[in-house]
């Protein structure tokens, strides 16, 4: 078994299965969002943005939670596989946060008449995006692998503090942002729930598929660095 728990033979098969499952679930989610879910009475069709917007935000939270877990595990064990998990999940989390911000901004233009407003949910989400973009940029500034991983792990743990703040922001502060999950459950029509759950399931599988691709890439990158080091050592007369 390799460090990730998947052998090199299992990995392409797992990639294929996850890709197929993601495609099927995404199509089902689209069908549910556009055909099965009823049109919202006040907002009209533009409300349908909400299904993929919420699912994207969920995938981002899941990614940053894995950054947190990977960072804690790295600091405890110093095993490289946890650092690989953390950096891979951080990059994917940034992608999903970007999609959440973009789709939310488009919805806001239609619903509020503005692309952006500095209200708590939007501001804390932008902060979340900036935290993990900084995480990725700062990793590139530290040369030594062990120091980079340790430094990133500390950053990954501290950065995660913003995730519950983003989630709770609409309860803690007065906000324009719709509250999907309230203290008494979902604040939406029951007929809309299948589309929401399917979208969340689809984005979870898409996230796992991307994570498998990205961790494989990170391992190849580390192998390349090691091979470069060995080639340089040989060319300088080592061995």
């Amino acid at each position: 078994m390799s460090g990730s728990g998947l052998t090199t033979l299992d990995r392409p098969r797992a990639n294929g299965v996850l890709a197929a499952l993601a495609a099927v679930l995404l199509l089902a989610a689209l069908l549910a969002a556009f055909v099965i879910a009823p049109t919202e009475t006040e907002m009209g069709d533009v409300q349908r943005i909400f299904y993929f917007h919420v699912a994207s935000a969920w995938a981002a939270f899941l990614a940053f939670f894995l950054v947190f877990l990977g960072s804690v595990a790295y600091l405890r064990t110093r095993a490289v596989r946890w650092d690989i998990l953390a950096v891979s999940a951080a990059e994917i989390g940034v992608v999903f946060t970007s999609l959440t911000l973009a789709s939310g901004s488009i919805w806001a233009r239609s619903a509020w008449g503005t692309w952006w407003t500095w209200e708590p949910r939007l501001t804390t989400t932008l902060m979340l995006w900036l935290i993990y973009v900084s995480y990725l940029l700062l990793r590139g500034m530290v040369e030594e692998a062990d120091r980079r991983a340790a430094f990133a792990a500390v950053f990954g743990i501290i950065g995660f503090v913003d995730v519950p703040i983003v989630f709770m922001s609409i309860r803690w502060w007065r906000t324009l942002h719709p509250q999907v999950v309230g203290t008494e459950g979902f604040n939406m029509e029951a007929a809309m729930l299948p589309a929401l759950f399917l979208s969340v399931a689809a984005f979870t599988v898409v996230f796992l598929y991307l994570l498998l691709l990205r961790t494989g890439l990170e391992r190849s990158q580390q192998e390349m660095v090691e091979l470069r080091r060995r080639v340089r050592w040989r060319q300088e007369g080592g061995g």
């Binding site: 349908r48 943005i49 488009i106």
Partner: protein, 72 residues
């Protein structure tokens, strides 16, 4: 602009973002795989040259040893 335009724009951005990211990962994997293969090739060639050099050294040492043995 109507609701449908914003709806199409939002879903377009999400799909483009996801598909674009998958293609970017695939391109990076392809380029890394090429570089890893190249480096492995260089390393094997270097090791083969070093192995031949080592083989020649052993052969010449054995030859000297044989010569010394026959003189004795």
């Amino acid at each position: 602009m109507g609701d449908l335009w914003y709806l199409a724009l939002a879903y377009g951005v999400i799909w483009l973002g996801l598909v674009g990211y998958v293609f970017r990962l695939a391109a990076r994997a392809e380029s890394l795989s090429r570089e890893v293969d190249l480096l492995r090739g260089i390393l094997q060639a270097e090791e083969a040259v070093a192995g031949e050099g080592q083989g020649e050294t052993i052969a010449s040492t054995e030859a000297r040893h044989d010569e010394a043995g026959s003189e004795a």
